[in-house]
C-alpha cells in the first residue's frame, strides 16, 4: 500500500485568523518592589532585574532583587504576624480571609490569565482554563479546611508550624503559589514566598490581592530574586517549614540545607513519567492523552508524560496518528486564543531543550517535528517526538522539561511495568486500556505518586500530588497537603 496516497493534508485551505486576547484591561507596573509586612518596599541592595515576555523578548517590568537582609526582614515580619494576629485568630476568621483571596482571584481571572501568558509564555487557553481557575479552586478548597482541622485529625490537636519558606517554579507561577499559600494560611502559618525569577509578575499581582483581601500585614510576604534569594529563604533559621517545587538538583541542595535543623519540608521535584498505551486502549483518545501529556504547557510540566510506552501491535498506528495530530497543533503567540503551544519560558530553557534535541539525534534516535511555522522573535520549540530510542538513552532517562517525547514499545504488561519503573523518578504515570483489571494492575505496580487512567494531567485541589524516589518528599493537595503545614499533638 502506498502510504503517501493515504496521507492526510493539514496545510493550506481554510485557516484560523488571529484571535488575540485583549490586554487593555491589564496593567503591569514599570517596577515592582518586595512585598514585605503588607506593603511594597525597595530592596535593601537597591537592585532590580528584568522580567521579559518570552514570546517577544521584550521587557515587561523590573522586579526587585531581594538580598539576605530583605529575606531577614520578610521572615521577621512573618514571625511577628504569626505570633500576633494570625495563629491566635479564630480558625473560621482565618478561613474567611482565604475565601476572600479565592473570590478576588476569580473576579480578576482574566487579568491574571493575560499576565500569566505574557510573563511565562503559556497559551492563554491554558492560563484561562487551567492555571487561574485551579489556583482559585485551591484557595477555596483549603479555606474550607481552616475551621475543620479537628475533624481532619480526630482525637489530635493540629497546630500550625510557624513561618513557612516557600520557593516555587516558573512553569505554573500562580498555581504553584496557590498550592503553597492556601494550605499554609488555612492551617495558621505565615509565609515568605519566592516566585521564580523569570515569572514573578502574577505572584506580585497576588500580593495586591492579599493586600486587597485585608490580610494582616506580614502574613504573606513575597520576595523576588534568583537562586541566592531562594537559598536565603530556605536556609533562614527563622523558617520552620520549607516547601519547594523545582528541579531535583536544587531539591538535593535544599535537603542538605535543612538536614539537622528540625525544619519540616516538602519537595516536589522532577519527573520522567511513562504514559503506557495498551493495544486495547481507545486509540484516538489515547493519542489525545499523549498530546495533552507532553505538549501541555510546552512540556514544562514536572508530571509530563515524557516517555511514551506503546504496545508493539499498535505502535505504528499510534505514532502515525500522533504525527497527524501534531500537524494540527498551533505554535505561536501565547495570547492568541487558538494557540496550542506557546513560547518556551526562557532563553536558558530553550538552550537546554535544544541541547537534548541534538543529543537525541546523536544517540541515534529518529526525530520528528511538527512542521508548523514559528515566529521570528521569541523562544520557540516545535513539538517533537523521538522514535527508535532505547532505555539506555539519556533522552529517555533525563528530564528535558520541553515539548519532547521519547517513544518506546513493549510487548507484555510486565515489560511495560518494568520499563515504566526503570527511572530514578516517580512523580506520575499514565495507563490507557479498555480493561479495568489492567488499570488496577498498573496503578498498583507503577511507582509514582499519581497514575492517571485513560486521562492525563488532571488536577484537583482535593487530590494529593507528590513523588516517589527522586521526584520528591511529601504530598501537596487534599487532606495530605494539610499535614505538611501542621504539627499534630495528642
Amino acid at each position: 500500500m502506498d502510504t503517501q496516497v493515504n496521507k492526510l493534508a493539514f496545510d493550506g485551505g481554510w485557516q484560523y485568523a488571529p484571535a488575540p486576547e485583549s490586554t487593555d484591561h491589564v496593567t503591569v507596573d514599570e517596577r515592582y518592589g518586595l512585598f514585605i509586612d503588607g506593603e511594597f518596599a525597595e530592596p535593601a541592595g537597591g537592585k532590580y532585574f528584568d522580567t521579559v515576555n518570552p514570546a517577544t523578548e521584550e521587557r515587561l517590568s523590573q522586579v526587585a532583587l531581594a538580598t539576605e537582609a530583605d529575606v531577614d526582614r520578610a521572615v521577621a515580619a512573618a514571625r511577628k504576624a504569626y505570633e500576633g494576629p494570625w495563629s491566635k485568630m479564630k480558625p473560621a476568621e482565618r478561613g474567611k480571609y482565604v475565601y476572600r483571596i479565592a473570590r478576588i482571584l476569580q473576579e480578576r481571572a482574566r487579568e491574571f490569565a493575560v499576565i500569566e501568558s505574557l510573563d511565562g509564555g503559556k497559551p492563554i487557553r491554558e492560563s484561562r482554563d487551567v492555571d487561574i481557575p485551579l489556583a482559585a479552586a485551591h484557595f477555596f478548597y483549603y479555606a474550607g479546611w481552616a475551621d475543620k482541622l479537628d475533624y481532619a485529625y480526630p482525637g489530635r490537636r493540629a497546630r500550625p508550624l510557624g513561618v513557612a519558606g516557600q520557593v516555587i517554579p516558573w512553569n505554573f507561577p500562580l498555581l504553584m503559589a496557590a498550592w503553597k499559600l492556601a494550605p499554609a494560611l488555612a492551617c495558621g502559618n505565615t509565609v515568605v514566598l519566592k516566585p521564580a525569577e523569570t515569572t514573578p509578575l502574577t505572584a506580585l499581582k497576588l500580593a495586591e490581592v492579599v493586600r486587597d483581601a485585608g490580610l494582616p500585614p506580614g502574613v504573606v510576604n513575597i520576595v523576588t530574586g534568583a537562586g541566592d534569594t531562594g537559598s536565603a529563604v530556605v536556609s533562614h533559621p527563622g523558617v520552620d517549614k520549607v516547601a519547594f517545587t523545582g528541579s531535583t538538583a536544587v531539591g538535593r541542595m535544599i535537603m542538605k540545607a535543612v538536614a539537622g535543623t528540625g525544619k519540616k519540608y516538602t519537595l516536589e521535584l522532577g519527573g520522567k513519567a511513562a504514559n503506557v498505551i495498551f493495544a486495547d486502549a481507545a486509540i484516538d483518545q489515547a493519542v489525545e492523552g499523549i498530546v495533552n501529556g507532553i505538549f501541555f504547557n510546552q512540556g514544562h510540566v514536572c508530571c509530563a508524560g515524557s516517555r511514551l510506552l506503546v504496545q508493539e501491535s499498535v505502535a505504528d498506528e499510534v505514532v502515525a496518528k500522533l504525527k497527524d495530530r501534531m500537524a494540527t497543533l498551533i505554535v505561536g503567540d501565547p495570547l492568541d486564543k487558538n494557540t496550542d503551544i506557546g513560547a518556551i519560558n526562557s532563553q536558558e530553557q530553550l538552550g537546554r531543550i535544544e541541547s537534548y534535541l541534538k543529543l537525541g539525534v546523536d544517540e541515534g534516535a529518529e526525530m520528528f517535528q511538527a512542521s508548523c511555522p514559528t515566529p521570528d522573535r521569541g523562544y520557540w520549540c516545535r513539538p517533537t517526538i523521538f522514535t527508535g530510542v532505547a532505555q539506555s538513552n539519556r533522552i529517555v532517562q533525563e528530564e528535558i522539561f520541553g515539548p519532547v517525547l521519547a517513544i518506546q514499545t513493549f510487548r507484555t504488561l510486565e515489560e511495560g511495568i518494568a520499563k515504566a519503573n526503570n527511572t530514578p523518578y516517580g512523580l506520575s504515570g499514565g495507563v490507557w486500556t479498555d480493561k479495568g483489571a489492567k488499570i488496577f494492575r498498573m496503578t498498583q505496580k507503577v511507582r509514582a505518586g499519581v497514575v492517571w487512567a485513560n486521562t492525563f494531567n488532571k488536577f484537583d485541589p482535593t487530590s494529593p500530588f507528590g513523588g516517589y524516589k527522586e521526584s520528591g518528599v511529601g504530598r501537596e493537595g487534599g487532606l495530605h497537603g494539610l499535614g505538611a503545614y501542621l504539627s499534630l499533638e495528642s
Partner: protein, 308 residues
Amino acid sequence: MSAALRPQRGQLPDLSRVTAVDETGVEERVARFRTRSIKTSSKVEALKLVLSMIDLTTLEGQDTPGKVRQLCQKAIHLHDSMPGLPTVAAVCVYPTMVAVAKRALGEHRIAVASVATAFPSGMAPLKVKLDDTKAAVDAGADEIDMVISRGAFLQGDYGYVFDEIAAIKEACGDAHLKVILETGELSTLDNVRRASVLAMHAGADFIKTSTGKIQPAATMPVTLVMLQAIRDFHTETGRMIGMKPAGGISNSKLAIHYLVMLRETLGTAWMTPEWFRFGASSLANDVLMQLQKQATGVYQSADYFSLD
C-alpha cells in the same frame, strides 16, 4: 468503483479490530474544538463554506409539490441581495418529491437527494427498501440517504446490516449512497464506530448521523467518532468517504465548530461539499444572518430572510 471492488454480501469486515472509544476522551476533544475562536475573514470564509455544504431538507408528511418547489428556489437563490453567495449542495426530499425537485432545479448544479429504505424507521422488508430506492433513483435522485436496520444492528446481526447496505448500494446504480446510522438509537459511541466501519465496508459513499426524527440527532462527539472512522478507513484502503451530520445543527457558531473538527481530524481534502454536508433546514438562514452581520456590522431581523 470497478465491479471487482464492489462490496459483496457476506464480506463482513473484522469488527473485533475496531478500536474502542472512550466517551469522556471524545467529549474533551470536542470541548477543545469548541474553544477555537473563529473571527473576521476566517469566519466569513467558513460561513460561505457552510452554506455550500448544506443539504436543504424538507422531510414532512405534509410536504406538497409547492413546498418542494419553494425549497428549490431557496436552494438556488439563498439571498440574492447579497452578492457572491454559493448555492447549497443539495435538496433532500422524500422519494415522491424527487421528480418535482428535479424539475424545479432544472439545469442548476444542485443535487437532489432522496431518503429511501422506509425512512425514518427502516422497518420494512428488504424488497420494499430496494423498491423504494429504485423508485427514487428512477425519478432522478442523485443521492440516496438510506437508514440502517438498527434493530438488527443492536441484536448483533451485523451480517444482515452489511448485506442490506451492500444490496441498497447495488440498487443505487450511479447515485451516491449516504448511510444513516441513526446514532441516537445506537446508544454507545462504540456502536457508532462499529456501525461506521460496517457501512463504509458495505459500500457507503457517505456516512450520516441521523434522520432528524430521533433525539439526539447529530452531536459533535458522535460526528467526531465517525470522522475518525473515516480517517482510519482512508488509511487502510485509500478511499475517501464523505460525512454528513444531520439534525440539530441550526446555528452558525455550531456549524463552524463542526468545520474546525473536520479540518483538524480529516484535513483540508474533506473541506468541500463533495465530502462534507450538513443536513439542515434552518441553518441556512442563521448563516445568512451572520454573513449580513459581518458585512454591515448589524444584525437584521429574521423577517429580511425568506423562510424557504
